[in-house]
Structure formats: C-alpha cells, structure tokens
C-alpha cells in the first residue's frame, strides 16, 4: 500500500516526473509514493531516476487506462 498517491493522469512530460520528485522530497524516509500517470515516458524514466537518486523503484502496475508507478523513499 502506498502512503501517498500522486494523480498526474493527463499531465504531460515532464509533469508526472516533477510531481513524483516533489512528493518524494516531501515524504518521510520509508514511505512509498504511488504515481498515477498516462504519460508514456514515465515508465522508462522513473526507474532510471531512482537509480541515480538512490531511491527504491518498487514497480509498475497497469491499471484501467493509466499506470501506477511506486517508488519508496529510502534515504
């Protein structure tokens, strides 16, 4: 279960990515953020961002018309 959902459906690049980063910054260590996105690039970019930023990429779930991408703040 995510601690917070960021609904960025309908938002275009770089909207979803920026909203996720903002939410991760604001979250406490140990919390998981779920990003809802319809933007195709998010799925590719967010795991790469997690690698660079040292945060944990939890996974992508295909929902009805959008994707849920979960990231855990580990530091």
């Amino acid at each position: 279960m995510a601690d917070k959902v960021v609904d960025a459906r309908g938002s275009h690049c770089p909207g979803p990515m920026m909203e996720l980063i903002r939410a991760i910054k604001a979250a406490a260590v140990g919390q998981t953020i779920a990003l809802w996105t319809t933007e195709a690039g998010s799925k590719k970019d967010i795991p790469l961002w997690c690698q660079k930023a040292g945060q944990e990429f939890v996974g992508v779930v295909q929902m009805d018309g959008y994707e849920e991408i979960a990231v855990k703040k580990v530091k």
């Binding site: 938002s11 275009h12 690049c13 770089p14 909207g15 990515m17 920026m18 909203e19 980063i21 903002r22 910054k25 690039g41 970019d45 790469l48 961002w49 660079k52 930023a53 040292g54």
Partner: protein
C-alpha cells in the same frame, strides 16, 4: 450598461489581446457599449527574449524597454496597479491601491516569475539572465571571465524552454571567438535524463553538445548552492564545482492566483487547453505563462492564444458565441550559436522537428527582435 472586459497583466499576452479586441471594437468603445481595461503592475514593458543577448553585450537594456502606454491603441484604458484579489462570484478585482474593478469578462495574463527563494544559496551564488538585473550582472561577470568551469543548471518549469540551450551555444561561440574556449568547461545540468523535455529537441541539442564539447549532466534537480565553496548540489546527490554558475530556477505563477483560490500546484491557473477558460467559470480566461496548460511558456504561445481568445471575446462582447479553439500552436526561434539559428513549430498533436541551423533564420530572429513592438500593437 457597457460590457466590461478586464485584462490583468500588461505583458506580451495582455498587450496583444487588449489591442486586438479594442481595435476590432473601437466603434462600440466610442459609443460606450464596451470597455477594455488593462490592469498592469508595471508601466513599462520589457521584451524578455532580448535578455538572452544582454550577457554578451549584443543588446542594450534600453533597447528592450517601452512605456506600456506607447504600446496601446487609444481606446484601451490602462491602469497602473496590481491585482491583489479576484472574486469570481461578485465579478470584482481588488487592487493594491484599494480600488475595486468590475468585469463581465476577465482575462488573467499575469505571466510567470523566477522562484529564487526555493533553492538555498542560489541568490548569493548564482547568476541568471531571466530578468534584467540578472542579465546585466551576468554581462559584468562574463566581461571578467578568463576561463574555468561554467555550470548552467535548470529547474522546471521555466519560460522559453529553448533559451537556456541558446545561451550555452552562444556562450560556446563567444568563448571561441575570444580564444578562451580551451580554458573552459561547459556543463549543462538538466532535471530529466536528456537535454530538453521534448524528445526531438533533446536529440538535436545532444548532437550540438557533442560537436561543441558541452557536457550534459542528467537528472540534476537543483537542491542547493554553496556560494562559499562554489558548489551546486542536486537532489539526486550530485555535486558540481563551478567557477561561474548560471541558473534558470523553476518558475511560479503570481501570488494573486493563490490568494483568490484560483491556483493549482506552482501557483498556475487551471486552464482548459482549447477554450482557455479557467476552472468552471464561463467568463474567466487565462493566456500565456500563467496557465497550467501543457504548452511551452513562450511569447509565441501567449500571442497565438491571444488571437484565439480575441476572436471569442469580440463575439461575446457583441452578443455572439465563442467558437474559436486553441490547438497548442507554438513557434520558437533557436539561436544555434552567434551566427546561425533554427526554429521549432508545433501543436498539441504535432511534435516539433528542428531543422538544420542557417544564417538566414538567425537574421530573421534578429529582425523579429526589432519589430516585436509592432507585433504587440497587433500590426504584424
């Protein structure tokens, strides 16, 4: 009773819109059937695209400034005052000097501003060229610059998403022409994993970076600046030492949006991407940088939106409908160094494809810089 159009913000969008509507309805305005009022917190207009040239001493500040009154057709009423609160229910706008203005139709054209406070140390440690004092200070820094590492670090969103690329290409050629490029490193630090949020533009920028020896630092979200150690840090944990830091920090919308309960994240105004209507209001519109629309924050967008909205407002003020829709049209010249330029032209549905830079397009941009004033008046 006259129908009242009130426009907040005497920048690119506000000027083009008020001039276009007032020119079309000059007879109705003279007869007292319609009023067009432009409310602006500055009585001078600054041609912001010219700021790109100031650090290289290629345009002088005085060339970029005109009195708002000189740019308006006579039947627009200009009020030099600041909107402090918008009340959609009573159709009123409060101003800083204590006035209450009424409207039938309201247009928010308040632009965007640099958020210099969000990144600790940025104001003390960085240069920028996105406002006039910053561009003049950078001109002074460049005139003394003899070499070292230049870091250009960006936040998102920012207006004119190609200006930072233009700046580094011009910087590269400026340094070559002065014979100091060998003593210099240029690093472009961008929040995403490429050099621009539009993929085709990022691909083109990357090929220019490779040719010019400009390094790209990806996933660099500005976090803090240490002005004493001369280091800039990203949220991702990267630290870059610099001799000269040029930042384009993330922008925000005007405080009046949030103070009036009309703002979303970033203080932007929630605006319909085709009709330009704000939220659920039928009589409030927004244009230009102030919106949350998936467009570039560019003068050309403000211009094309103004044309669409002017068509609708002219109808609405004279008892017609609002059939015109904005399609995301955007046009941006891109200086690819000091002597050549290319351009991007796109809509919501058609992504841009930058063509090969040419001298002719560079001169076209230079000419546009000089005739922009006529554009504001709705002549070009």
């Amino acid at each position: 009773m006259a129908k009242e159009l009130l426009i907040i913000g005497a920048g690119s969008g506000g000027l083009i819109l008020s001039n276009t509507v007032a020119r079309a309805l000059s007879r109705e305005i003279r007869r007292g059937e319609v009023t067009v009022t432009l409310l602006g917190d500055r009585d001078e207009y600054l041609y912001q695209p010219g700021l790109l040239y100031v650090p290289f001493d290629l345009m002088r500040p005085a060339e970029l400034i005109r009195k708002v009154k000189e740019l308006l057709v006579p039947c627009v009423t200009f009020m030099h005052d600041r909107a402090t609160r918008i009340d959609p229910e009573s159709r009123q706008v409060q101003t800083r000097s204590g006035r209450t203005l009424t409207y039938d139709y309201l247009v928010i054209a308040t632009g965007s501003e640099l958020d210099l406070e969000e990144t600790p140390g940025l104001k003390e440690g960085a240069h920028w060229f996105y406002d006039l004092p910053g561009a003049i200070r950078l001109r002074e820094a460049l005139s003394r610059f003899q070499g070292g590492r230049v870091v250009v670090a960006l936040g998102l969103p920012h207006k004119c998403p190609v200006a930072p690329l233009e700046f580094v290409f011009m910087l590269d050629e400026w340094a070559r022409e002065r014979g100091i490029r060998e003593q210099m490193e240029i690093i472009y630090a961008f929040p995403l994993n490429r050099a621009h949020n539009i993929q085709t533009c990022a691909d083109w920028a990357q090929s220019e970076f490779d040719k010019r020896g400009i390094q790209l630092e990806t996933f660099f979200n500005l976090d803090s600046v240490d002005p004493v150690r001369k280091e800039v840090n990203s949220y991702e944990g990267t630290t870059l030492a610099y001799d000269l830091l040029v930042a384009v920090p993330a922008h925000k919308g005007d405080a009046v949006h949030a103070d009036s309960g009309l703002a979303v994240q970033g203080n932007w105004v929630p605006t319909h991407r085709h009709t330009l209507k704000v939220g659920t209001y039928e009589n409030i519109f927004a244009i230009g940088d102030a919106t949350n629309m998936p467009t570039s924050k560019a003068g050309s967008v403000a211009h094309f939106e103004s044309e669409v909205l002017a068509g609708n407002l002219i109808n609405l003020l004279t008892g017609g409908g609002a059939p015109h829709q904005y399609d995301g049209k955007t046009f941006c010249f891109i200086e690819a160094g000091m002597h050549k330029a290319t351009y991007l032209s796109f809509t919501y549905d058609q992504p841009p494809v930058p063509g090969p830079p040419s001298e002719a397009i560079h001169w076209f941009k230079q000419a546009y810089n000089r005739i922009h004033w006529m554009n504001l008046k709705g002549i070009v």
